[in-house]
């Protein structure tokens, strides 16, 4: 079945070509200067250039978000199923087969069963959403995702009144996912959202990036994106969606309950026990890129803060 695309935006429209050109030459100059600096000479010229170069978005409105390159997005991320290093997913995901694919839907819903990829995605129009991505490790990117609003998808299964949460599960394929052969995390990776979070219009079931099918290392063929939460909430390569009455277990809060909670909302005021969450390193900004202040709910406070009225965000981290 042909996948419909909302407004065929070419990636060349999203990221103007000259930005890439400028970016490369900037990085080269800056880095050469950087070598000088490390051995003790000044770098004022490079600093001046850094201020002018259009490397990272400086204005923080949604329309002005300038996406990272496809190379940044596809070569630097966490996906422990393929290895622990952030370069590992790109290196070790080549043998992963994202098709055929099916997703099992179960729990508190009228429509349950196992559906293949086309049955899941087919009836929807694929939209493009340029979102900030903030990793709990204090780095960030801007990514032009393609996907469908999760709420639209979930409504088709007609969750009942007992469906208070939605749980998700990643595929287990040790033969194609070398990271799963090491016991660093308990696989399958599991994640969950409250039903309100899952139904929020910002929450996306992602099928692609930059107009191409989702690469294996980014969670092919179906992954979640919850842009106001730390990246680990946005579970990849989803094979199960369950509607539940109670809060489902989530992998990182099982692995390190004092460091990662169920909510994991981006919050500059609540630090990780081992590092500050007040600022973040912008991927792609090079050697002289400045850390930028982290925004409450990753800049989506206006849209999502009302989901958490009355909730102690420090306790429910």
């Amino acid at each position: 079945m042909l996948i419909k695309r909302a407004a065929d935006i070419k990636s060349s429209e999203i990221t103007p070509h000259q930005h890439f050109v400028n970016r490369r030459s900037f990085i080269r100059t800056a880095s050469l200067a950087g070598t000088g600096m490390l051995i003790g000479t000044g770098c004022s010229e490079a600093e001046d250039q850094a201020a002018q170069a259009p490397v990272t978005p400086t204005v923080d409105t949604r329309t002005d978000l300038l996406p990272n390159s496809l190379e940044d997005i596809t070569s630097y991320n966490n996906f422990y199923e393929f290895g622990l290093d952030k370069g590992d997913p790109a290196k070790y995901s080549k043998n992963f087969e994202p098709r055929p694919w099916s997703v099992t839907v179960d729990g508190e819903a009228d429509v349950t069963g196992t559906f293949d990829y086309d049955a899941i995605v087919g009836p929807h129009t694929i939209e493009e959403r340029i979102y900030r991505l903030r990793c709990v490790e204090a780095w960030s990117m801007i990514v032009p995702w393609n996907g469908i609003p999760l709420g639209d998808l979930l409504k088709r299964f007609r969750p009942n009144s007992r469906a208070k949460y939605v749980a998700f599960e990643t595929v287990v394929r040790p033969s194609q996912m070398p990271g799963q052969r090491r016991g660093v995390l308990d696989f399958p990776y599991v994640e969950g959202l409250t039903i309100e979070e899952a139904m929020h219009p910002l929450t996306l079931m992602v099928t692609g990036v930059y107009g191409i099918d989702l690469p294996n290392q980014n969670g092919a063929p179906l992954r979640l994106i919850v842009p106001w939460k730390y990246g680990f909430k946005s579970i990849k390569s989803i094979v199960r969606i369950s509607f539940t009455e109670t809060e489902p277990p989530t992998t990182w809060s099982l692995a390190a309950p004092s460091e990662y909670g169920f909510y994991a909302n981006v919050n500059p005021e609540v630090d990780h026990p081992r590092w500050s969450q007040a600022s973040e390193r912008v991927i792609g900004s090079g050697l002289f890129g400045k850390r930028q202040p982290t925004l409450m709910f990753n800049g989506y406070a206006e849209q999502v803060a009302s989901l958490y009225t009355g909730l102690d965000l420090r306790r429910n981290f």
């Binding site: 070598t35 622990l84 952030k86 390193r281």
Partner: protein, 228 residues
């Protein structure tokens, strides 16, 4: 700890055993040949890092170059601390004095890499954002430990010269025992900074345990010998 005369006895034993050995580890060969060679070798990790930074920046250091620099400088700082700590057990193991002659150089390289590790954090990563840095040092245990270890390296680096050694006499030996604490603190710093996979930090903790164990066993044996 053996005195200077013991060391020279061990060295001369070596001279008697083989001609090749005499040539390779004679004081002259060490000073004129091995020390410069080892010095250059110790600079290789730094040179490789510079090359990765300068040539085709983003490609070889990846999309997060500052993090890559931080990790590389840190791991080499730790490796040089381990190398420094390995020289005395190596001397016991092979019964020759020459490893000790490289101990100061490794120690100073440990100090160099650890300092650059901190400088990268201070300058490139945090751009002298002192409130954030002070918060890190006071509130986050693994940074407190790492920073303390770096501070402890400073007096060792300063007093590493022959002059200082002579001036301090026995106190010098006591002062430089700090390096054991620094080794343990550095391993702890690495261990506590790891997100989930502890394989590599545990490997360094194992190496440290072996190195310290070898020393303790040697000292215990030595203290038994005169009594027997």
């Amino acid at each position: 700890m053996p005195s200077r005369s013991q060391v020279s006895i061990q060295a001369s034993t070596c001279v008697e055993t083989s001609r090749g050995c005499r040539f390779l580890v004679s004081q002259r060969a060490i000073n004129r040949f091995w020390k410069p060679v080892v010095f250059v070798a110790c600079l290789v990790p730094l040179a490789v890092l510079m090359l990765r930074i300068s040539m085709i920046a983003q490609f070889t250091l990846g999309p997060n170059p500052i993090e890559a620099i931080q990790d590389q400088l840190g791991i080499w700082g730790l490796r040089f601390i381990m190398l420094t700590l390995a020289m005395t057990p190596l001397r016991y193991a092979i019964g020759q004095a020459w490893p000790i002659r490289f101990r100061r150089m490794f120690g100073l390289f440990a100090f160099t890499y650890c300092s650059l590790h901190f400088l990268n954090y201070l300058v490139l990563d945090h751009r002298f954002d002192f409130p954030a840095i002070i918060e890190d040092i006071t509130d986050r245990t693994f940074i407190t430990i790492g920073f303390t270890a770096l501070l402890a390296l400073i007096p060792l680096a300063i007093t590493s010269t022959n002059n200082w050694r002579r001036k301090l006499g026995r106190k010098w030996v006591t002062l430089h025992k700090l390096v054991y604490g620094i080794g343990a603190a550095t391993c702890w710093h690495f261990f506590a900074s790891a997100k989930k996979d502890l394989t590599e930090p545990l490997a360094y903790i194992a190496i440290l345990t072996v190195l310290l164990g070898a020393r303790i066993m040697h000292d215990a044996r030595k203290s038994r010998v005169p009594a027997a």
